[in-house]
């Protein structure tokens, strides 16, 4: 069934509101030309039983989309968010949307949804006015009922109003409620997914147990860059119940029991062909620099860098690096696919139902209307589930076994091997301050591994240059978007370098930034952070172990303050306290936003201190959580979150901004504690000890 047909079907006996994407909200994820603008973004359905359904093509990753989107609908329709039924991420039921990433949900989808709900309110009130014979101004709307203010006995309900009618409205003119009249927005609400998650009832893709399901385990090459050439499956085929499916280089062992399929896979002997990259986790940085060098081009250029350098009294040179890092969602990539009556349905752990749909359609040479993706509860995304190689694998296998649900659940080793990592990067920086009021006379970056995303913040710089290469296939390993891509690499370099400049010039890191910041919003946020932390900054290193960093993701601003203790014998860094002051405009669900910030700080701590993909050639050496080190409870500091009071600014996304400055704040705190400048993320105990050796003794 195509969406248009479905929409027509859905409109019968219900009141359906369509709403298109607002003009002027340019998506950052490129959309296919000609598709988005003429499509609908989401819609509401008020059923004859009075329930309000809200259909959005985003997914619930744990970020709380289900709750916050329901709040927006509830606000306009005077409901409790619990009274709004959310349907997320079903490509047959929900209108096309962009992926759930880039912090787009609140910035992009939310205004549209609120507009839709506002129009629904207006239409319902008008209908009630007719039905009750009273002017709209004399009506009260609450909990799905509408009554005459003066005479509450004269009442009707959403259900009665829409019964047996077919009515469509294309949205446009109705304004949402003014903030002063809002009763839901700005208040914390219970998460709608709470009960399912604390009772174990929540269904993730791997929890689906459709009758007849076969679990598929796929033969993997030992190294990236290799593909299957030949295979001997005789051993596996002797296991009762095993079935082998082969499609090109894809070989899968199928069995009704997931553990038996996995054991049988171990009996398959494969040979592989191809070339693995000739590099490892130590040589990678020089590799990137060398490979990038011929393609370097200037992507940001303001002022005369050479002249600025001449004017500088204090010059600092720095080289900042970060390793490959995995998304390492606790739920590995999982999909269930079923081929039936010429259609492929995939129940998936996904951030991007529509991207998955199109990718599956392309891989199987099917029309998009022949593929349906149904997102399940997703056990973490962070950018890792924007793409769906596992869903494609499940679909390719399912295509060969008609009518049988095929589950592909990667194990941890596969998940670490097949992930698209946060790219490793090298940022070389030269910059200088003048002797007078400490202005930045030049700032010169040459970068390999990432692009200029969020490299600039509102710091006054007399000259600024950023060079990055346009080299396709620069990375020897597969890379992808990791929560606030590019931004944390650039912020780590920039904020570390600023700190180094401040130290060299003998000013404290806050004073230097106050002088440089040109944006009043960031300046206020800096003050809020310093005040809340109750910190009296002094030129570093002070021995107190306090460090600060600023960061941005689009219009979302963050100032982070970290306090650490460094064990000089072991090189262990203990984060004792971490504060973030955050300005994302109007905060719709304060508790939900706080959860995002707390989570981002925790992930940032892992990124800064322990997470690194180790590899040799194409072999990924990290196979599980014994060497790929996520932060555990003992690594978690006391966390404080404050939001700027900025309700007049339109809500910005909260997923990415708070992760951006974390590593930089921690590195600056390490410097303040020890005088050692750590420039390589993650700063593991070994790297801390190396940095400590470079500190000149007093």
């Amino acid at each position: 069934m195509r969406r248009r047909d479905f929409l027509q079907g859905a409109a019968t006996g219900a009141l359906t509101f369509f709403f298109a994407t607002p003009v002027g909200s340019a998506p950052i994820v490129p959309t296919r030309p000609g598709t988005y603008s003429e499509d609908f973004n989401a819609y509401l359905k008020i059923s004859a039983d009075g329930r309000v359904g809200c259909f959005v093509g985003k997914t619930e990753l744990g970020q709380g989309a289900t709750t916050v989107l329901a709040m927006l609908v509830a606000e306009e329709l005077e409901l409790d968010p619990a009274q709004v039924d959310m349907v997320l991420g079903d490509t047959d039921l929900c209108p096309w949307d962009m992926p759930t990433g880039g912090s787009l949900t609140m910035w992009h989808t939310a205004p549209v949804l609120r507009g839709a709900a506002a129009e629904a309110r207006a239409v319902l009130l008008r209908m009630a006015s007719k039905a009750l014979g009273a002017p709209v101004s004399g009506l009260t709307l609450k909990d799905g009922a509408i009554w005459v203010k003066e005479n509450p006995a004269r009442r009707t309900t959403f259900g009665e109003l829409v019964k047996g009618r077919k009515l469509e409205r294309h949205l446009g003119k109705v304004k949402p409620k003014p903030l002063s009249e809002c009763t839901v927005i700005g208040r914390s609400f219970p998460r709608k997914d709470a009960l399912a998650k604390i009772t174990g009832a929540a269904k993730y893709a791997g929890d689906l147990r459709m009758p007849g399901t076969l679990h598929a385990c796929i033969l993997r090459p030992p190294s990236q860059g290799l593909t299957l050439a030949s295979a001997d499956t005789a051993g596996a085929e002797r296991v009762p119940g095993v079935r082998i499916v082969r499609d090109g280089a894809l070989l899968a062992v199928l069995h009704p029991q997931p553990d038996t399929a996995r054991k049988a896979l171990a009996l398959v002997k494969g040979t592989f062909e191809g070339t693995e990259p000739d590099v490892d986790d130590v040589r990678i940085y020089q590799y990137l620099v060398d490979k990038a060098a011929p393609g370097q081009r200037v992507v940001i250029s303001r002022g005369d860098v050479a002249a600025g350098e001449k004017r500088a009294a204090t010059v600092v040179e720095g080289e900042y690096r970060n390793a490959y890092e995995s998304h390492a969602t606790l739920e590995p990539h999982t999909s269930v696919a079923k081929w039936e009556e010429g259609r492929m349905t995939v129940w998936a752990s996904t951030q991007s139902p529509f991207v998955f749909r199109d990718a599956v359609a392309e891989a199987l040479k099917l029309g998009q209307d022949k593929v349906r993706i149904i997102a399940q509860f997703v056990g973490g995304g962070f950018g890792g589930k924007l793409v769906g190689p596992g869903a494609i694998e499940a679909a390719r296998i399912a295509r060969q076994v008609p009518g049988v649900p095929i589950q592909v659940a990667w194990n941890r080793e596969e998940d670490l091997f097949l992930d698209g990592y946060r790219p490793a990067a090298v940022v070389k920086l030269r910059s200088g301050l003048d002797a007078g009021r400490g202005a930045i006379t030049f700032w010169d970056s040459t970068v390999a591994g990432v692009s200029q995303g969020e490299a600039e913040l509102s710091y006054e710089m007399q000259a600024n240059r950023y060079q990055a290469p346009a080299v396709p296939g620069l990375h020897p390993l597969k890379v992808g978007a990791w929560r606030a891509p590019n931004a944390h690499t650039n912020a780590f370099a920039r904020e570390s370098q600023l700190d180094a400049l401040a130290a060299k010039a003998g000013v404290d890191p806050v004073t230097l930034r106050r002088r440089l910041i040109t944006d009043a919003r960031l300046l206020r946020l800096l003050d809020l952070a310093v005040e809340t932390f109750d910190w009296d900054p002094a030129p570093g290193p002070t021995g107190r172990g306090i460090g600060l960093a600023c960061g941005a993701w689009r219009q979302g601003l963050v100032v982070a303050v970290a306090q650490v203790a460094v064990d000089r014998t072991t090189g262990q860094v203990k984060t004792e306290r971490f504060l973030e002051a955050v300005d994302v405009g109007l905060v719709v669900n304060p508790d939900g936003a706080r959860q995002q910030v707390e989570g981002a700080i925790t992930q940032g701590i892992g990124q800064a201190l322990s997470e690194e993909i180790h590899f040799k050639g194409g072999r990924i050496l990290d196979k599980n959580f014994d060497t790929y080190l996520l932060p555990r409870f003992s690594a978690i500091p006391r966390i404080q979150v404050v939001f700027a009071d900025n309700a007049t600014m339109v809500t910005q996304g909260i997923g990415e901004p708070p992760v951006v400055p974390v590593a930089a704040a921690l590195a600056n705190a390490v410097f303040d504690a020890t005088g050692a400048r750590v420039t390589h993320v993650p700063f593991t105990p070994k790297r801390i000890l190396e940095a400590l050796k470079l500190v000149p003794s007093k």
Partner: protein, 158 residues
């Protein structure tokens, strides 16, 4: 080799015909349809598969079916009673001590076993008790708050 193994599951006797060396997590999820117990690493490193065997925490990815013969197994599905949440579950709900929820069953089971022994634990004792459970979303602070408050509220669990 298929064996017939009987044990008590969430208070009720069950008998399963399955190889005795099969890991409990697959028996629970596949044979018994209890998918609240999650799989995150299959190597005893993440705690997502935590269940209780005779009221002690056990990693069901590393515990065989044979290991639980004649014992009592408690999973997340067995905590709520007569439509009432267990105090630990209620505390997790109250504190929003989860995001994606994938670690949550294991967290609740680990916390439950710990609080049963030590309802009035200090924060650092809770940290130590929960150290084997990973949460990738970063719900740690809230999980600690939830465990602390569950301990305080009821002075322990059943």
């Amino acid at each position: 080799m298929t064996a017939t193994v009987s044990f008590i599951l969430n208070g009720k006797p069950v008998t399963v015909a399955s190889p005795a060396d099969r890991m409990l997590v697959w028996v629970l999820r596949d044979e018994l349809g209890l998918t609240g117990t999650k799989v995150g690493c299959e190597a005893g490193l993440c705690g997502a598969c935590t269940v209780l065997v005779d009221f002690e925490t056990a990693l069901s990815c590393s515990t065989t079916l044979g290991d639980v013969a004649g014992k009592s197994v408690l999973t997340i599905e067995g905590l709520a009673h007569d439509g009432k949440l267990d105090p630990v579950q209620a505390a997790f709900q109250e504190h929003h001590a989860f995001q994606c929820g994938y670690c949550t069953s294991g967290m609740i089971m680990a916390a439950w076993a710990f609080l049963k022994k030590k309802p009035k634990a200090t924060r650092s004792e809770i940290v130590e008790a929960m150290e084997g459970n990973l949460c990738r979303c970063g719900a740690h602070v809230r999980i600690l708050d939830a465990v602390e408050s569950a301990g305080k509220a009821v002075g322990g669990v059943r």
